[in-house]
């Protein structure tokens, strides 16, 4: 297994999806304690919901998962080729079965549906962020982004963040999506574009290089994937699974005290 990555990949404008293996293992432990009497099955479809199948399969084995659920033999082969010995179930095999009902994404930090909360103690595993590239002071009434669906309500500072719908920020969250800088959330100003969003940060002293957090565990003021799901008519699973290829996955392992 390759080592952990303590620093953010500087290519790709510093876009970052930090995946905390310690949090994932702690989540699995909580699920294992609840799965008494039956095997613990973790749904690892959709590249482990965007977290990376092989790295998460390693962590799952370490924390006592019995069975991994994947789509097909290709996924199963990736796990086997990585030398991970675990029971893998494919729903789509030559023996022709149908996919199981969703077993939930609690291991990744979320309940099944918006209305169905995750078990107590479960924490989101993935944090997606990018640096502020530039800031701009603009007057009241300044249109922002395509179609000028947003106009500033007073003199304010606009901060450009290189995360757009190509990176998995859902365009339908235009008008409601938020990102956090230094523990405070700011609204996205105007349409979410392919490569970027603009945050209206008011009079906050935001400077280029400050990190804008799209979502994370939600423990330090940032939105969660469930918040994005709510404001885009989606699910946390979809938000996680659709984080794009330009956002490098970076594996960290923080000590989790519970």
């Amino acid at each position: 297994m390759s080592p952990l990555d303590s620093t953010i990949d500087p290519t790709g404008l510093g876009r970052d999806a930090a995946i905390d293996l310690g949090v994932f293992r702690a989540n699995v432990s909580i699920l294992a304690a609840r799965a008494v009497g039956g095997p613990l099955v973790i749904d690892m479809t959709a590249d482990a919901y965007g977290h990376g199948l092989v790295r998460l399969a390693h962590a799952a084995v370490e924390s006592g998962v019995d069975i991994l659920s994947v789509r097909d033999q290709g996924d199963a082969r990736m796990i086997a080729d990585a030398g991970i010995g675990i029971d893998v179930r494919c729903w789509h095999t030559s023996r022709f079965s149908i996919p199981p009902a969703g077993s939930g994404i609690a291991a990744f930090g979320f309940g099944m549906e918006l209305t169905d909360g995750a078990p107590a103690g479960i924490v989101p595993v993935m944090t997606v962020s990018a640096p502020v590239l530039s800031v701009k002071r603009v007057p009241e009434g300044h249109g922002v982004s395509y179609g000028f669906v947003y106009r500033t309500r007073k003199e304010t500072t606009l901060a450009l963040v290189p995360l757009g719908y190509a990176d998995g920020i859902p365009r339908s969250a235009t008008g409601s999506g938020r990102m956090a800088i230094n523990g405070r959330q700011y609204p996205i100003a105007g349409r979410i574009a392919m490569d970027q969003v603009v945050l209206d940060v008011g009079d906050a002293p935001v400077v280029p290089g400050d990190r804008a957090i799209a979502f994370g565990p939600g423990l330090e003021g940032e939105p969660t994937a469930a918040d994005w799901a709510e404001c885009s008519g989606s699910t946390a699973g979809e938000i996680l699974a659709r984080i794009g290829r330009r956002v490098p996955r970076r594996y960290i392992d923080r000590e989790v005290a519970r």
């Binding site: 404008l13 959709a46 149908i98 590239l133 603009v138 249109g143 922002v144 450009l160 190509a166 290829r245």
Partner: protein
Amino acid sequence: MTTPDIGTTSAPDSVATIDLAAVRHNVARFVSLAEGSQVMTVVKANAYGHGAAPIARAALDGGATWLGVADLAEAFELRDAGITQPVLAWLHESHDDFAAAIEAGIDIGVSDLGQLTSLAHAQRAVGGAPASVHLKLDTGLGRNGADESIWGALFDEARRRELSGHVIVRGIFSHLSNADDDEDARQLERLHVGVETARQSGLRPQLRHLASTAAALRLPATRLDLVRVGIGAYGLSPLDHVGSAELDLRPAMTLRSTIVAVAPSSDADFVARSGIVPLGYGDGVPPQAAGRIHVTGSGGRFLVTRIESDHLVVEPVSAGTEVERGDLVTLFGDTAEGVASADDWARAADTINYEIVTRLGDRVAREFIA
């Protein structure tokens, strides 16, 4: 167009077929439309999900003389693929790896003084020819691009850096809001003011550019020296209520998959059974479209009833059509072939065709047809 042989043991169940002839046709259409202007094909975001390097080559074959990307990583990907033609990248961190970009012959879109200074320092370290720059002006969109209040300072500094041999300003550009024709006309006017101010500073930009696909189609005055064509190159329309065919554009991407399993219908009163297709939202298929979109199989159309992480469920819409295991289904492509379009998926999912193709995931194989 031949139907690819998918669904067999040796081939993936799901394939996005990319018709490079369609890309050449679409780019050539803009080359002729824009007459004296050059065409830059925008291949950012993995060529809107189509595959950057093959699309870039097809675009150049179709008559494009420039390629446009957002960031340097995307520009390096083109150079690594052996593509040597002009490439412009316009979204940067101020401490980005400009030295490598200069060595790779990438033109840099510069939005502020900090980037200009970093670029000049990088050129001094690298040596050789001056770094090629397109100054990006914010003419109203409020994203990147230099704010009008600093244009004078930016132009003076750029000229100073030209005289010391560090940079050469090849272009000046901006990006339209497409809010309405009046706003776009106002932005064009601001760009002309910016270019005139730059000339007074002694700059001689050869390439003024503003229009992307929508303006290139609709507003001839915005075409200037170069048009930046993204969505149109992929055969999709950026205009509301105007489809690809009306613009003589051919959608380049066709997404197909296979019914790999047949299950009892979710509706007990309905005798038909449902088919399972191994494409889900983890592959980029938007679940918001469920219940509002059809796929096309050999026997007819099927309604998409559910979209899950790694599969979707289809059901016959009329008596007499049955889902069959192994049947190929087309999710979207060219409506001339009787299938749904990316536009149809965009309507069903309350978004735009750009998002439908761009977010198609890496786990779906791309197959290129020359």
